[in-house]
């Protein structure tokens, strides 16, 4: 059975793959989580998916932009993220 760390690594990789496929466009966080829930088996909980996103953000693999008018952030992959795949 996969350990939690293996699952985290797999989940983070999926985040990077989804964002890489967006080809430079920003993906709203809710769409990103929806896609992770469809692509990762078993589907991650909301907090698990958010934890993968935050980890990648704080380590510079993805970058988020938040609208000045509020709302959830939108994400894109960084060069470091592309190199990690």
């Amino acid at each position: 059975m996969a350990t939690q760390e293996t699952r985290n690594v797999d989940g983070r990789r999926h985040v990077l793959q989804v964002l890489r496929d967006c080809d430079g466009y920003l993906l709203p966080e809710n769409s990103l989580i929806d896609q992770l829930r469809l692509q990762v088996a078993p589907a991650p909980t909301m907090s698990e998916a958010e934890e993968w996103i935050r980890w990648l953000d704080s380590n510079g693999y993805i970058a988020g932009i938040r609208s000045e008018l509020g709302g959830a952030p939108k994400w894109k992959i960084t060069d470091k993220g592309k190199l990690a795949l």
Partner: protein
């Protein structure tokens, strides 16, 4: 005769029904509800395991294809918008591209929003055409005015040098010579 397995029944659905099934699964309808829908709409009995197998085989690929389509839709809109230099500034072009992408990637996007975005781009094209028509009409007017002025040049000179006329009178008379009486 053995009954066909329920997973092979799903794999053998017509393309249109497979696409519909993909849509249900990708838009987050739970398996147990999809099972009911499949029975009702396609008259096919299936199992949760068969739906899971179908998902793994078809939906993951469809999800990736959908992201690619979203990128290409956004790129198409950007191409259309960028073909009108000066119509939109760079920040607006970026915002339009991003909006097109978000609408295309979101299976729950309201088709009206997608339509509005395309209409905005098309409206800008119409505006270009009407501006061009105004420009052509102005060019024609300038040409006609020059032609009329040449035809009555001696009279215009006479009006211009007539010291008994005020500036306003001179303008009125010159206009009359060039274009005739004002329409009622």
């Amino acid at each position: 005769m053995r009954k066909p397995r329920s997973d092979s029944k799903l794999m053998n659905l017509p393309e249109e029904q497979k696409a519909m099934l993909c849509d249900w699964l990708l838009s987050g309808v739970p398996y147990h509800q999809v099972r009911v829908l499949v029975k009702k709409e396609f008259s096919v009995s299936t199992s949760l395991a068969a739906l899971s197998g179908f998902y793994e085989t078809f939906c993951s690929a469809e999800l990736i294809a959908r992201r690619r389509r979203a990128v290409s839709t956004a790129d198409e809109i950007a191409k259309e918008v960028e073909s009108k230099p000066g119509r939109f500034d760079a920040a607006t072009i970026d915002a339009l591209k991003q909006k097109a992408f978000e609408l295309s990637v979101n299976p729950g996007a309201n088709p009206k929003d997608v339509k509005s975005l395309f209409m905005l781009v098309l409206k800008s094209r119409d505006q270009d055409l009407s501006e061009r028509n105004i420009e052509l009409a102005r060019e024609k007017f300038e040409f006609d005015a020059a032609k009329a002025a040449l035809a009555v040049l001696p009279e215009l000179r006479k009006i211009a040098t007539d010291r008994s006329l005020t500036d306003d009178d001179k303008l009125r008379q010159a206009r009359l010579k060039l274009f005739g009486d004002l329409p009622e």
